[in-house]
């Protein structure tokens, strides 16, 4: 069996003097979807940030067998890691289209670029309509769509999603999950998903980890977690 696409060993991370992650270890096989669940403040966002080296970290992160901890964020992204960040990271002063263009900035392969724009615009027609609108004036949900579209423009190998459904209308949430399933299946994009909509996330995920105050409390397949009582009470509500 091939090495996992992403492997995290004893990852610690924090802000200033405070340590937030206390040694996480997990691995993600290529072509799978992994969900990360956890309460508010558990450290999910920090985990994604730590993978991209956006916060102070120690421990090992391997991407495709290569150590990437210590590499700069931009170099990690250039390896094909797209990140939909917490808070969307919109380039508020630029237009919608410029935001998308930036999504493709680090892309190696510029073939099919035009086609990808079209694909995004098909996926989120409102963005096409608002091509030239200053992105900062889009509605919250529209910006969330933009953030997802921007990440997809990279044609990543690994997609890190920090609450992709944040602030989206129920119908769009469904669509986004469809898209994730779709790119995972057809383009073999590996996905690490942080999501509060646990029911949908677990249904989609091959693997899931439950995070609590900076440590992994439980891991298993999506189904396993869905059947766990504690998870059901806290995250699924039935």
């Amino acid at each position: 069996m091939a090495a996992p696409l992403l492997e995290v060993r004893n990852l610690r991370a924090g802000y200033g003097p405070t340590e937030v992650l206390h040694g996480l270890s997990f691995a993600i096989e290529e072509g799978t979807i992994t969900a990360l669940l956890g309460a508010n403040g558990a450290g999910k966002t920090t985990t994604l940030r730590a993978i991209c080296n956006m916060v102070r970290t120690s421990g090992e992160v391997l991407f495709d067998g290569q150590r990437i901890d210590g590499k700069s964020t931009e170099d990690i992204v250039r390896l094909g890691v797209a990140h939909v960040p917490d808070g969307r990271g919109t380039f508020t002063d630029l237009t919608t289209e410029e935001n998308l263009r930036l999504g493709a900035y680090a892309r190696r392969n510029h073939r099919d670029l035009a086609e990808d724009y079209e694909r995004m615009y098909r996926l989120f027609p409102i963005l096409a309509e608002r091509r030239h609108q200053q992105a900062g004036t889009l509605s919250g949900g529209q910006q969330q769509m933009l953030a997802v579209a921007r990440a997809l423009m990279l044609r990543p190998r690994l997609l890190l999603l920090d609450e992709p459904s944040f602030g989206l209308a129920p119908m769009v949430v469904k669509e986004i999950f469809e898209v994730m399933r779709d790119i995972n299946r057809t383009q073999k994009v590996t996905i690490l998903l942080v999501e509060q909509n646990a029911a949908m996330a677990l249904k989609l995920a091959d693997q899931a980890h439950l995070l609590e105050t900076g440590s992994i409390l439980m891991s298993g397949s999506g189904k396993d977690l869905m059947n766990d009582d504690a998870v059901r009470r806290a995250y699924l509500g039935y």
């Binding site: 956006m54 992204v77 960040p85 263009r101 999504g103 990279l154």
Partner: protein
């Protein structure tokens, strides 16, 4: 009427000076979101470098392009060495570093080159074309060079991915890293390009105002006003702003209030324009929403 035209042309000529430095300010602003107070002194220093080369016997254009390249390198070096340590500090901290840089460059130039004014050669013929006396050939040439630089800056920001990445890096470094932009190098590149633009400005200005360590102190103020009048993010605006400021100042001085308060009145008018159009004449209005 003749005198009026004459004033307008003199204003356009000095306006060209302001415009050329204003372009450098726009460049650095788009690349870093900061207004570099040391921009004028950097241009002055570059001009001295060119002067040194010419003294050493280099041909004008050789020295010119060597200076542009050298300035680019120095600009990059300044960003990497001086600005980088305060990259994440509050804006005003960086501003103080700029002021420090300004003082250092001004003072060191005075020390090395002394304060006596030096004449700086112009690449353009000494006789104006068509027997004009209103503007000199150099002034026309300088305006031409400014327009060429404007074209390049405009095309760069408008059409190249690098230009877009640079603007993105300036306004949202964290997100920029997440799309793979090497933010550090973008800033350095911005400094390099701004320094090169500034050096061009300096070499076009020096034949007009003479070369001395303080040659840019006055120009910087007007360039600052011009860039803001046009809209600090707009290269075209900076150039138009430069011409407006140049002409406005002359008209105010010659016909409205006399030369004693012309700067004051010109500044009041500029601030007045900004109060009506807070993003400048051609600047993009950025809406903040919640």
């Amino acid at each position: 009427m003749d005198a009026f035209l004459h004033q307008v042309f003199a204003g356009l000529a000095t306006g060209g000076i302001y415009a050329s430095l204003a372009l450098a300010l726009v460049m650095i602003h788009n690349a870093t979101r900061l207004v570099n107070f040391a921009q004028g002194e950097m241009a002055m220093f570059a001009t001295y470098l060119c002067w040194t080369m010419i003294q050493a016997g280099w041909p004008y254009w050789g020295a010119f392009f060597a200076t542009v390249v050298l300035s680019f390198v120095l600009g990059v070096a300044i960003e990497r060495i001086l600005i980088r340590p305060v990259e994440r500090a509050p804006v005003l901290t960086t501003v103080v570093v700029f002021i420090g840089l300004l003082l250092i460059l001004n003072s060191v130039a005075g020390w090395i080159y002394t304060y006596t004014i030096k004449s700086f050669p112009s690449p353009f013929p000494s006789k104006a074309p068509f027997g004009l006396t209103i503007v000199s050939a150099h002034e026309l040439g300088a305006i031409g060079v400014t327009l060429v630089v404007l074209m390049m800056v405009y095309l760069f920001f408008r059409f190249t991915p690098l230009g877009l990445a640079m603007r993105a890096a300036a306004q949202n470094p964290d997100s920029s890293r997440l799309v793979g932009i090497r933010v550090g190098w973008m800033l350095a590149l911005g400094w390099g390009l701004a320094a090169a633009t500034g050096a061009t400005a300096g070499m076009m200005i020096a034949p007009i105002v003479f070369l001395d360590p303080n040659m840019m102190t006055g120009v910087l103020l007007y360039a600052f006003a011009a860039a803001l009048m046009g809209g600090i993010d707009s290269p075209g605006g900076a150039v138009v702003g430069g011409f407006i400021v140049g002409v406005l100042e002359n008209i105010v001085g010659a016909y409205l209030i006399g030369t004693e308060l012309k700067l004051t009145v010109a500044l009041v008018l500029i601030v007045g324009v900004l109060v009506v159009r807070p993003a400048g004449l051609f600047g993009r209005v950025i809406v903040q929403r919640v």
